[in-house]
């Protein structure tokens, strides 16, 4: 169980949060103009890498805010936390 630094509340136990998959995949603005393949790419394809991953998390049992984290999935080390709409602080 890791500890996540919620950008609104501070350090909290992982059990207060829920993961929401890969970050920085925005919903297409004009879905009807996409081909089936392009829509499927948005809808289904996720990286799920072993290593540094950009993820969405939500503080479900807290402020209920969504935010992003950068986590190394091989050792669960969280390298950065940043708000929705912000650019990743590290590359």
């Amino acid at each position: 169980m890791f500890i996540i630094h919620c950008p609104y509340c501070g350090e909290r136990e992982q059990s207060e949060f829920k993961a929401g998959g890969e970050a920085h995949i925005s919903r297409p603005k004009q879905p009807s103009e996409l081909s089936d393949d392009q829509w499927a790419e948005y809808l289904f394809m996720r990286k799920n890498i072993k290593g540094v991953q950009y993820e969405r998390w939500v503080h479900t049992h807290g402020c209920r805010k969504w935010f992003n984290i950068i986590r190394d999935t091989s050792n669960d080390q969280i390298q950065a936390v940043y708000k929705m709409g912000e650019k990743p602080p590290i590359k």
């Binding site: 089936d36 969405r56 969504w66």
Partner: protein, 1001 residues
């Protein structure tokens, strides 16, 4: 008569306090301070168990939690019975009753022992190979396997004990209170860290505390007495909490650990009532110091498993700590100096040693010289090739090892004995370290895995870090702690250490024998009966990965997780496959380190607290009126209300008929309610529902369908426009929380520009739905000031009103297809308004109905129930609900997916009605639907999702999904059941009142 092998008063045992206990029905005596194992050994009992596969007689082998053999059942046939308890760990108390496991009928005569003679046909993978084929034989095998093999019996009555959970936060957690742990605790606590020291035994000091040999000294005192003073000192430190009888079960990431604190297991049963038995500690530590020590390795040779064969260090501990001799004619067998330490201590206590067999040819240390001086015969460069004695070892045979250690040479020497101590060197206990995500490295010179990289702020010290000798431990500890804790001084900088230990070792993973390999039984995993031969077989059959060999041979898969033999398994694999140990890696150690009871895991979450449930404000009324309840999500919902011992069927038929003939009343408080406000609320609803919302007038209600982005139906419900920028949305009971979560997600991440605020108000309102032709009359009595005329208050509209002084919202919306009114009041008024409705409805036979009747009424109307009729693979088009999908709207969640080639197929499964040929025949929900039996395999076209006998239509009706069903109206299909085939006709899913006349009746 049993012998008394108590040799010398030990200061750790209270010989003035005699304890009586029973083992396999016979009464024995021990002393306060004994473990079950030490008390049995004092009574000269070694045979305590039968092995898992071959049912070979097995004895106590160790003195700790690594024990593979001596696992017993406590207090058989009582509510406190517990299987798989290690005799080496339980402290005896008056009235303790223990019995052997895995033997039938008794440990002395065991029918399964025949497996031992059948062992040539019980090789590795035996269970996989044999019992899988023919499958029909499994039933026969199973009876015998279950009867003759098994690891104890679980209790059959509720656990009378209390368990609890506790959170602990500390600066420094130290696991293990051996010499390293005690020193670390003192340093950490004295430097101001809030420190927690955890020890699984009931005493502090580990293996050093009973060390009073001249060969190991600190500051000119024996190491035992030096440590004793340190312990007395740390007990006085205020910011140090010490927990004994506490075992760390799991070490997770971010220094989160679970430990089990044992509070009453050492007390006589009658003293336990009302006390907490075990506590699960959930520890979050800033820093963790692992000082879990090391385990002595056995040696792997032919018949190395007989009762009377123990680890050499265990024999030492039984003599030094408990004052018990494990035998009268002892032999030690070793590849390193540790056995000489045992020899020195046994000699001092007057326990005779017949011989020491040492793998090493050239050896020299003060310890060895002392054994020679004590006239103990030492066979240098020898190995044991076999042992004898069925229920207790009585003899060994030894031969000389060849120079390369691969063969035995010369002639055999037989030596009688009644106890054999074996020492194969030491294995650091790195289980917890690796659980935490730590990576190991292999140290070639003494063939051990030691911690290499740490994933969190932690350190391993002492012998779990590969520092096995006193001088190594003491010379490293100061430096390590200074660095780790960031301090200048430890106070342990200038210790004077004396040790006579020589670190030389001759490591041979599998000792050679004069027999051919196939004829030996050299056990690697004692509990699971895996031998070196099994491992070789697995390698011959092509297994290479250590994880595969482990599963195939079951090595390391017992309750002890192979704490003793895993290294040898690796060693043998490495030798045969020619790969390096360090490259093979180890198998994964998984939590818990030692087994946990279910009680500890669940803590106080038992009985009514096991899974907390939600009650509506009218719950008490339902209980009083004998409702049966159904679990929906976390809610308890009234299911049906049986009258005078009615069956469920009869109750539901009566309720359904009353709802359509006169009036029904339903508690709909569990439906999710989300308050939506903001200038963009309409636009928001437009985007999340499939139909259009911007033109909904204030005071009107609309049914909406919500999809996932993949186009599949996700939730449904009625939303009401209370005001220009204010809506109240209802969701399904089970979907309330996830719908809110999903809406918040879209608002925050995709459409942050929208001015919309969401609030969950499910618990704030009680919702009462009154339906049926008499509903208008009833509501007119409950709310006399409200104009109920169809002009003023038509279907799908809402009114803000009052019942006396109580504010309420009334919606004219229908779950059932009947004219209905839904009253929403502040939750605490729910029961009184419900009772008011009951009173007003009395003359109209108002009938409370539950979820089952609601489903039936909805099925009559072909209204779907999300979650019962849908399963996340159905689009609104599949549900024949094209009418609710807006073609005009540019976009809404899931729209694009409705135009994918797959979702547009004509032969998708589609919702249809099903009518049985025999109107009294009720289909089973979940039954398969087929068209043709002549084609093999029979094509499954779909399944039945809802099925009832309709009292209003006087026939059976069903909803189902059928491939291409939309175009099969009137077609005959078949429902195959176990012993019959039911003929059905595909029909319109709306069975009753297709014109919706009843809504305004």
């Amino acid at each position: 008569m049993t012998k008394n092998l108590r040799v010398k008063t030990s200061k750790f045992i209270d010989e003035t306090y005699k304890v009586s206990f029973k083992f396999n029905g016979k009464t024995y005596y021990g002393f306060k301070g004994d473990t079950l194992a030490s008390a049995l050994l004092a009574n000269d009992i070694h045979l305590v168990a039968r092995s898992f596969k071959y049912h070979r007689p097995r004895g106590i082998m160790t003195a700790g939690s690594e024990e593979p053999n001596a696992i017993v059942q406590l207090h058989k046939n009582t509510s406190r019975t517990e299987p798989n308890v290690r005799a080496t760990e339980i402290e005896i108390y008056d009235g303790l009753e223990a019995s052997s496991q895995n033997c039938w009928p008794s440990v002395n005569f065991d029918i399964g022992g025949i497996n031992n003679f059948l062992s040539p046909v019980l090789p590795a993978g035996f269970y996989y190979k044999t019992f899988m084929w023919p499958a029909s034989f499994w039933e026969k095998y199973e009876y015998f396997i279950r009867k003759s093999a098994g690891l104890g019996k679980s209790p059959s009555t509720p656990d009378p004990d209390i368990y609890e959970h506790r959170y602990i936060h500390c600066d420094v957690l130290i696991i293990g209170a051996g010499i390293s742990g005690v020193m670390a605790a003192k340093v950490a606590a004295k430097n101001g860290f809030k420190t927690l020291l955890i020890e699984e035994k009931n005493y502090l000091g580990g293996e050093t505390i009973y060390q009073d040999s001249e060969h190991f000294k600190i500051n000119n005192q024996t190491s035992g007495s030096w440590l004793d003073k340190e312990i007395n000192e740390i007990k006085k430190i205020k910011n140090l909490e010490i927990k004994t009888r506490t075992s760390v079960a799991a070490f997770h990431g971010y220094n989160f650990l679970l430990a089990r604190e044992n509070l009453t297991d050492h007390l006589p049963i009658e003293q336990r009532n009302g006390k907490t038995r075990q506590r699960l500690l959930k520890i979050r530590a800033k820093k963790v110091i692992t000082a879990t020590g090391s385990l002595e390795r056995p040696l792997i040779f032919d018949n190395n498993d007989r009762p009377g064969i123990l680890l050499s260090s265990a024999i030492n501990k039984y003599a030094s700590l408990f004052g018990v001799a494990c035998g009268e004619k002892n032999i030690l067998f070793t590849n390193n100096d540790s056995a000489y330490e045992t020899a020195a201590n046994l000699f001092k206590k007057g326990i005779s040693i017949e011989a020491i067999i040492d793998n090493r040819e050239e050896i020299d240390s003060k310890l060895i010289k002392e054994s020679e001086k004590n006239n103990i015969k030492i066979y240098k460069g020898y190995t044991i090739v076999d042992t004898y004695g069925y229920k207790r070892i009585n003899k060994i045979s030894i031969m000389q090892l060849s120079k390369d250690g691969q063969k035995v040479v010369g002639s055999k020497i037989l030596i009688p004995c009644d106890c054999l101590g074996i020492s194969g060197g030491w294995t650091p206990s790195v289980h917890l370290f690796t659980q935490s995500g730590g990576k190991l490295k292999f140290r070639d010179n003494d063939q051990v895995f030691i911690p290499n990289t740490y994933p969190s702020d932690q350190i391993s010290i002492g012998s779990c870090n590969g520092d096995f000798t006193l001088d190594e431990i003491l010379s490293n500890i100061s430096k390590t702690l200074k660095e780790f804790l960031g301090i200048n001084k430890t106070g342990y900088e200038n210790l004077e250490v004396q040790t006579s230990f020589n670190k030389s070792k001759r490591n041979i993973w599998l000792l050679p024998s004069d027999k051919i390999v196939g004829k030996t039984k050299s056990f690697v995993d004692f509990q699971n009966d895996a031998t070196a031969k099994d491992i070789k077989l697995a390698l011959r059959e092509g297994f290479r990965s250590i994880e595969h060999v482990k599963r195939y041979t079951t090595t390391g898969m017992g309750t002890d997780q192979g704490k003793l033999g895993n290294m040898h398994a690796l060693g043998i694999i490495s030798e045969i496959s020619g790969s390096k140990m360090g490259e093979l890696g180890t198998t994964t150690f998984r939590p818990p380190y030692t087994p946990l009871t279910f009680g500890t895991i669940v803590g106080r979450n038992v009985g009514e607290y096991f899974d907390v449930y939600r009650k509506t404000p009218m719950h008490d009324w339902h209980v009083k009126n004998k409702a049966k309840f159904e679990n929906v999500g976390q809610w308890k919902r009234a299911w049906y209300y049986p009258k005078n011992n009615e069956s469920m069927h009869d109750a539901v038929q009566r309720e359904s008929k009353a709802a359509r003939d006169s009036a029904g009343i339903l508690d709909a408080s569990t439906l999710g309610k989300i308050d939506i406000q903001g200038t963009d609320a309409s636009e928001f609803l437009n985007r999340v529902y499939t139909n259009a919302w911007s033109k909904l007038d204030i005071g009107k209600c609309r049914y909406g369908l919500m999809l996932n982005e993949d186009g599949m139906v996700y939730d449904d419900g009625v939303t009401t426009r209370l005001n220009e920028n204010h809506y109240i949305m209802t969701t399904t009971t089970g979907g309330a929380a996830t719908v809110l979560g999903k809406l918040e997600d879209y608002l925050q991440t995709e459409w942050p520009e929208l001015d919309v605020y969401l609030t969950s108000v499910t618990d704030h309102y009680a919702t009462i739905s009154v339906c049926g032709p008499k509903s208008k009359k009833i509501i007119s009595q409950v709310i006399p000031n409200l104009d109920l005329s169809d002009d003023n208050f038509p279907h799908m509209s809402f009114k803000d009103t009052k019942i006396n002084e109580i504010k309420c919202r009334v919606m004219r919306i229908s779950f059932t297809g009947e004219q209905s009114y839904e009253i929403n009041v502040q939750a605490n008024y729910g029961k009184s308004v419900w009772e008011k409705c009951m009173k007003a409805g009395k003359e109209f036979n108002i009938t409370p109905y539950g979820t089952e009747t609601m489903h039936l009424l909805r099925a009559e109307k072909g209204f779907i129930i999300v979650g019962q009729d849908t399963d996340a693979t159905m689009t609104p088009i599949d549900l024949q609900m094209n009418w609710i999908v807006s073609k005009k709207k540019y976009d809404f969640i899931g729209k694009r997916s409705l135009y994918r080639s797959d979702t547009m197929r004509d032969d998708r499964k589609q919702l249809v009605g099903l009518l049985t040929e025999n109107p009294d025949e009720i289909l089973e929900e979940g039954a398969q639907i087929v068209a043709n039996f002549n084609k093999s395999p029979v094509e499954m076209l779909g399944h039945v999702t809802s099925s009832y006998y309709s009292p209003n239509l006087k026939k059976s009706i069903a909803l189902g999904f059928v491939r291409g069903g939309k175009n099969m109206m009137g077609q005959k299909l078949i429902i195959p059941m176990e012993n019959k085939k039911i003929n059905v006709t595909v029909a319109d899913p709306v069975f009753l009142d297709k014109e919706n006349k009843r809504l305004n009746a």
